[in-house]
């Protein structure tokens, strides 16, 4: 993998990241007053005590070659900083340039900031906390002898992954770039697509220990204020020590934490996120996670895939329909099979009944139990396959297919129709990867329901699921929006994908602020 060093341009935006009140409190671990002194050596000691037992912190002392009086020290953390940049733009001018030490110490800082350092992002600071934090972020603190003011020079630059095609949601047609772990890159990926001053980025910081930067992105004039304020409220409410992935945030701002259905969307692809922002959604970028969250997230989005919009609309609609049908099939097929085979045998044609009866000969487990066990084994295989390296993953597959497919039937452990049902249900699961979590649970629930009241049990289960789906909301938007009411423009982008020239309006409620997507249909 190519590793590039990220340039420190545009990093000034992070200075604006407001730290939350109360979160800086635990940073007051130093036993001093929190102010610098005029002595360089004492200042260095203050910093050394703050960073005690941390050997990655570098204190580099040097002086100007023309004037002995100008002594400096830079404090950086190895690995977080763009060393080359500091060497060339900070140490070199300070060492080699001729400049006079002004009378007062404050002026020296100004002199250095204004005349010496060819760096775009430098600021002065007197607060120790701020400096320590800056060092932690990868910025450089420049201490000057005789000054109680230090300079913070932006120098963040750590090694990160280049933009590459994401593993999830592969496309045949469509952009192949994906988000990375770096929030800067992610922001630039979005900005590159929407070249418009209405695109807004709001920065925040979450995590008492990790200080993870997160960024709320939306298009002003399209996104609803109510959703924005609700989102900000929920984000402000978060009180957690660390955020390692956007999954943390996702779970913490969910509407229905107990529901198996996700009410916050996530994607690894800029085109998907931008398309959702254009419909009025708000995106949340979390530093360190290539998955960008979007809210509100409704059920239809689980069957909407970016490629639908890039292909011919008929093909897109057909794929959409297949996805919707398989979503229903994957949770229903095992339960319906179980219901019919164990309760409603009269519905099976005689020939089929005979062959099912034959396949059950000698199988000790009841159908319901064997179906549950097979579904569990399938889920185990799926889980094992995803975590394994590719080579071992194949071995898992072979074992799975051989052991479960052939041997289990030959050994009369399960009947062959159960294997077929499991396989169909399993394959259709992968039609909508974002739904796997909910599908796995619902499938089991429906199997259990069907195992004790047949098709009626299954229907009761389905009605309960529907009731749940209809009663939940995501940031005030009904979760089933677009699927129940098929009026005018609502149905254009749900069960089918209408041609682009006819989709003149944004989805209702989400895009309520500015409904017009196209003013006319003349481009038809």
């Amino acid at each position: 993998m190519v590793i590039i060093v990220e340039k420190n341009t545009k990093k000034h935006i992070f200075k604006k990241a407001k730290s939350f009140e109360g979160k800086t409190k635990d940073e007051k671990n130093t036993n001093n007053s929190g102010k610098l002194t005029k002595s360089l050596n004492r200042n260095i000691t203050i910093f050394q005590s703050s960073f005690s037992n941390d050997d990655t912190v570098i204190f580099r002392k040097f002086q100007n070659q023309y004037s002995d009086k100008i002594k400096c020290c830079i404090i950086i953390i190895e690995g977080m900083t763009d060393i080359e940049h500091i060497n060339r733009r900070v140490i070199e001018p300070l060492q080699n340039q001729v400049f006079q030490r002004p009378k007062s110490s404050v002026n020296l800082v100004d002199e250095v900031q204004n005349k010496v350092l060819p760096v775009n992002d430098v600021r002065q600071s007197t607060r120790l906390n701020e400096m320590i934090k800056a060092v932690c972020y990868g910025d450089t603190v420049l201490l000057l002898d005789g000054c109680d003011v230090a300079l913070i020079i932006s120098s963040r630059g750590w090694e990160s992954r280049p933009i590459s095609e994401p593993e999830s949601g592969k496309v045949v047609r469509g952009p192949r770039e994906g988000f990375t772990e770096s929030i800067i890159k992610n922001v630039s990926l979005i900005r590159r697509k929407i070249k418009n001053p209405n695109l807004k980025f709001k920065l925040m910081e979450l995590g008492k220990q990790t200080h993870t930067a997160i960024c709320i992105t939306y298009i002003e004039g399209i996104a609803l204020d109510s959703i924005l304020t609700e989102l900000e409220q929920r984000l402000n409410r978060i009180d957690i020590d660390g955020i390692l992935d956007s999954g943390y945030v996702q779970e913490l701002i969910q509407d229905e934490p107990l529901s198996p259905f996700p009410t916050v969307g996530s994607s690894e692809r800029p085109d998907v996120v931008v398309a959702k922002m254009l419909e009025g959604r708000v995106a949340i970028i979390v530093d360190g996670s290539p998955f960008v969250l979007t809210v509100p997230h409704i059920l239809v989005e689980s069957i909407q895939i970016n490629e639908d919009y890039y292909n011919h609309f008929l093909f897109g609609s057909f794929n959409r329909f297949l996805r919707a049908a398989s979503a229903i099939a994957t949770i229903s097929i095992p339960a319906v099979y179980l219901a019919i085979v164990t309760y409603h045998q009269e519905m099976i044609p005689t020939q089929l009944l005979i062959s099912i009866s034959a396949s059950l000969e000698g199988v000790p487990l009841p159908t319901s139990l064997s179906l549950i066990i097979m579904m569990l084994i399938f889920d185990i295989l799926r889980e094992a396959g995803t975590r394994m390296p590719t080579a071992i993953g194949q071995a898992v597959n072979i074992v799975g297919t051989l052991v479960l497919g052939q041997a289990a039937v030959d050994a009369h452990l399960v009947s062959s129709p159960v294997i077929i049902v499991t396989a169909i249900s399993g394959i259709t699961t992968f039609m909508h990867p974002t739904m796997i979590e909910s599908v796995v649970i619902l499938r089991l629930v429906l199997i259990i329901a069907a195992s004790f009241l047949g098709i009626y049990g299954y229907l009761i289960g389905v009605i309960l699921i529907l009731l749940h789906l209809l009663s939940i909301r995501s940031f005030g938007v009904p979760y089933m929006m677009g699927l129940t009411r098929l009026e005018e423009h609502d149905g254009q982008d749900s069960w089918i994908r209408a041609p682009w020239w006819s989709m003149t309006l944004r989805p209702k409620i989400i895009g309520a602020r500015n409904q017009i997507r196209q003013t006319s249909r003349h481009n038809r």
Binding site: Q345, E346, S355, I356, E361, T367, S451, F452
Partner: protein
């Protein structure tokens, strides 16, 4: 503490779902004995002797289907049905039954008692084919030898489904029979089945019709009479008519037939006009006849018309003799003239005998097979 208590409660509830429910109507397919055919005879000690044909499935990958026949007696049918459990150990499953065979003796006593079980029980479907065994026990039919099939009931089922090819017997299901029994304006007709000796084997053979008055079997008519009856009921699609022309047998294959029935009630006189319009093709001729001659065709048409009218009159006379309206004329009269019919009915004069039937037949020969001269 609360959470522990709660989780224990939930666990208990879930375990109760599994242990206390999920058993009443849960039945595994391989624990069922699939019944495909049933035969009902008079029992020796009890009322009924029920014989069933059960599907016997062997093998796991290569399914091997065969059938087994067994009999048991009972006071009622359900009584007998339940007794099977104690023989086979598995529950008899009636939802896939194909055919019910009722023996002559039971049919001549009371058919509706037998039908009750099949129509009322939720498990049995109500549109099962029903046949009457003639000159043998119903049980023997299920024990008949098999030709090219391995299930007797399936053989009977197939021949009944293809009844239109021959038109010498009709279809009757438990539902249609009980429906006709209820109207009491139409006599029930059920196909008859008998055993046909073939070398040293015995094959099932469906032919002819059993005629019921009210719910008692009164008479049988044979295959050709059945065909005539089907002509009158507008229930014929194909079949053959054999006529004689100059001492030669000519076979006409029926291509299409429409029978229109017009009813009239004038001054308490009920008249039924039957207009038969048959399209046929000449199919099998014994010796050469020149069919390019239109007059010959005309003659053949005439002859076959006369022949049809004669046979129809014969069947109607027979039906009138037994007092059974197997053609549904009375029902037609009631449907078309409910008020006048009621008046006559109140006078007690609705008898099949009193209905005048006028028949006019039109046979049209459309072609003569593949060649004009034979």
């Amino acid at each position: 503490m609360m959470t522990i208590k709660k989780s224990i409660t939930v666990l208990l509830l879930i375990s109760m779902i599994f242990t206390l429910t999920s058993c009443w109507n849960y039945k595994e397919v391989n624990q069922l004995n699939i019944v495909v055919g049933a035969a009902i005879d008079k029992g020796e000690s009890n009322n009924y002797m029920l014989t069933v044909e059960l599907i016997h499935v062997k093998g796991n990958a290569d399914v091997n289907v065969s059938s087994e026949v067994m009999s048991i007696e009972g006071d009622t049918l359900l009584d007998a049905v339940r007794r099977f459990n104690s023989i086979t150990g598995k529950r008899a499953y009636w939802a896939h039954i194909r055919v019910v065979i009722v023996c002559e003796d039971i049919a001549s006593e009371d058919l509706s008692r037998v039908l009750g079980f099949f129509v009322e029980d939720a498990e049995t479907r109500s549109d099962v084919f029903i046949v009457i065994s003639r000159e043998c026990k119903a049980k023997d039919i299920l024990n008949a030898d098999l030709f090219m099939e391995n299930v007797v009931a399936e053989t009977i089922n197939r021949s009944l489904k293809n009844s239109k090819v021959l038109s010498e017997f009709q279809q009757a299901s438990t539902f249609s029979v009980s429906k006709e029994l209820k109207t009491n304006k139409k006599s029930v007709t059920i196909p008859t089945i008998s055993l046909l000796p073939m070398d040293d084997k015995k094959a099932t053979f469906i032919n002819g019709t059993a005629i019921f008055k009210d719910n008692k079997l009164t008479a049988f008519i044979d295959g050709s009479e059945t065909k005539t009856m089907l002509f009158l009921k507008n229930d014929i699609e194909s079949g053959v008519i054999v006529t004689k022309y100059n001492d030669r047998n000519i076979t006409l294959e029926i291509l299409d037939n429409t029978t229109r029935i017009k009813t009239r009630i004038d001054n308490d006189v009920m008249t039924v006009n039957v207009l038969v319009d048959t399209q046929a093709a000449i199919n099998e001729v014994e010796r050469d006849i020149d069919f390019s001659d239109i007059d010959i065709i005309k003659d053949i048409e005439k002859l076959s018309e006369i022949q049809l009218v004669e046979s129809m009159e014969g069947v109607i006379d027979k039906a009138k003799h037994y007092g059974t309206d197997i053609f549904g004329f009375t029902q037609k009269l009631y449907e078309n003239h409910p008020k006048k019919f009621r008046q006559i009915e109140n006078l007690g004069e609705v008898e099949f005998r009193n209905i005048n039937v006028d028949i006019s037949v039109k046979v049209r020969i459309l072609n003569s097979g593949e060649v004009s001269k034979l």
